[in-house]
Subunit: 239 residues, 2 copies
Amino acid sequence: MTNPTAAMLVIGDEILSGRTRDANMHYLAGQLTQAGIDLTEVRVVSDDAPAIIAAIKALSAAYTHVFTSGGIGPTHDDITADCVAAAFDAPIDVRADAAALLQAHYDSKGQEFNTARQRMARIPDGATLIENPVSIAPGFRMHNVHVMAGVPSIFQAMTASVLPTLTGGAPLLSRTLQVLRGEGDIAGPLGEFAQQHPDLSVGSYPFQTNGAYGANLVVRGKDAALLDAAMIELAQIFA
Amino acid sequence: MTNPTAAMLVIGDEILSGRTRDANMHYLAGQLTQAGIDLTEVRVVSDDAPAIIAAIKALSAAYTHVFTSGGIGPTHDDITADCVAAAFDAPIDVRADAAALLQAHYDSKGQEFNTARQRMARIPDGATLIENPVSIAPGFRMHNVHVMAGVPSIFQAMTASVLPTLTGGAPLLSRTLQVLRGEGDIAGPLGEFAQQHPDLSVGSYPFQTNGAYGANLVVRGKDAALLDAAMIELAQIFA
């Protein structure tokens, strides 16, 4: 049985200009691997409506799930919700359920629920809200697209709300063997090993430490017993 | 005059599984911004030939330059060079110029230039080599696609070799104003400011520190005088 697949769409000029280093991709990748959902593609696009809409359409059609990060705040450059609505030809406006959450939140802080903040309650018709325990303004799920905030603490909280609702496959397990030889010395036997184990994914990640070459050989698979047996074999090859 | 555009393609299962956190995207983003080349899209795909070939074709057709990271080592999972050749229908084999570089390197170290290492000399016909001062095995440029290593130190050295050969536009300058108010309070006047300055890009990046909300307002443009005048105006709006 193959696992469900996923793609991620990171939205934001600040990532592409080098101003901000994205943290959400690495976080989501680890969470999805544990949940048995295969993250297969990531795209990063700028705050540009046609680019966002095209990416949502392409990824939504190709994968079981899509997760977006960024562009759902109150400022003029936050256009993700409107782009998701456009991608699915859905009407969008300030929605009562999201507005009620935010109204109560700002009332409790004695702050005005002004026009800018009402922007965060723009949710496409037919979408389900995703809880935001950090700053209340919700994300949402529209068809197979999960729209989440770019601020890492909120992204992580929303991921925690969403993942238990999804059906995962078998988590991908991994084992690592560190070999203190250059990749060029091990590539031949490693390639044969990979060919003999078509059910496992075999990767080699070279490093250099104190002038010595080495590689982490990482074997991934869904069956722990099979994986353990393969690692014993691999250790014997490079003993 | 608009700047040349660029896309990046990061290749590697280890990024998508969450095992490794990519460092090259953030590095390249900063370098391209300084060089006046607009990084417009990034994609991350796994070590899967059809996915790599499709991404190279799409990005090469859409942008002035494409930079790839990863998959050019000696092991069985290093398939980038063959995928680039396939994307451009170019023949590929061990090429004499690349093989000579590597042969001399391994001779000097008393190591064998074996079949696995010869894999790193597979270069498509018509490609130009990119120098690798760290570990010799070269990258290459094929049409508008620059194929570089995934190991960050080598990726950075190759970027340094490539960027001076490209024609950039005006570097994108940025100025930041930090405002200690929530985004919801500033979004209205900030949106008006953005509308009044169509030549500038205006972004708002919220943060929370010691329980207080704030935002970095980042204004980007190519004309320093225009940018400075706009920042004085912005400071007055939020004084």
